[in-house]
Symmetry: C2
Amino acid sequence: MPTLEEEITQKTFRNEGQKAIINIIYTGNWLTARHNKLLKSFNLSEQQFNILRILRGQRPKTASLLLLRERMLDKMSDVSRLVERLRKSGLVEREVCIHDRRSVEVVISEQGLTLLAEVDKHINKLDKLSQRLSPEELVMLNTLLDKVRG
Amino acid sequence: MPTLEEEITQKTFRNEGQKAIINIIYTGNWLTARHNKLLKSFNLSEQQFNILRILRGQRPKTASLLLLRERMLDKMSDVSRLVERLRKSGLVEREVCIHDRRSVEVVISEQGLTLLAEVDKHINKLDKLSQRLSPEELVMLNTLLDKVRG
DNA sequence: CAACATTAAATGTTAGAACATTTAATTTGC
DNA sequence: GCAAATTAAATGTTCTAACATTTAATGTTG
């Protein structure tokens, strides 16, 4: 198992705290890269995948673009065009809200649901592989990460 | 302190393992966002900052573009133009290698070193703030993260 | 040493992110 | 009820990441 120092080719860290921060960022990027590689085989970007999951979670309700923007993990200014691309791919449907015509309501399509279910299967398999930790260790890890964010 | 569930507006996770993976990615993005915000005030991107740090670590040796590409945390195809932008800003110097004229050697400039020192001060201060963990907890966190990557 | 293969960087192209600005609909205050 | 303020989305623009392709230099092999 390569240590973090070997992987990022840095001799030593000033302290464990510094190392922990780099380690979190590095491990997060590592996990994200695995996910993105998989998503790409389905022609999905990370952002598109996030939107689809939010929409599935909302069902059978619709979600406005505003709501989508708020829920995106890294807040996107550009949800309009992102959703438009998903619509062109047939994964979502959108229509102007009757009650407030400024607002646009979006729902995931059948095709979107089917695709998402397929992707989920693969993602779950992928994520399981990286669970070399015991249940106790996982709880501990979650607790520590929550502490980092204060 | 908001829990992860609240922050990403998801009711429950299927299990602690799933939660841990999301938690690592989320916390990593959270830390990165803090860094990027700071870097932006120095007109630096994350990638540019990484390159400068690698170059400082190499001193007084030079680094080829190839070496830089290998060392970048998320491997960049586009180091050529990235370094060119740094050169235009006066932060690095570059010249074609005498022994192998295909290769381009890069060094950080005095101006680059000065800037980097300043940025480092701020980053360190920022990173300290998020250390609400004891030394033992930090060691534990690092161990667990290394385990995740296997 | 000439032809070919390989390597390093540069360049071309496309799509997406980040930012501001504009447009259209609604709400508010008078 | 109307003008101004606010809100939601659309659009414009610029910069960068990601991808492929090209160019130039060096290695390799017969």
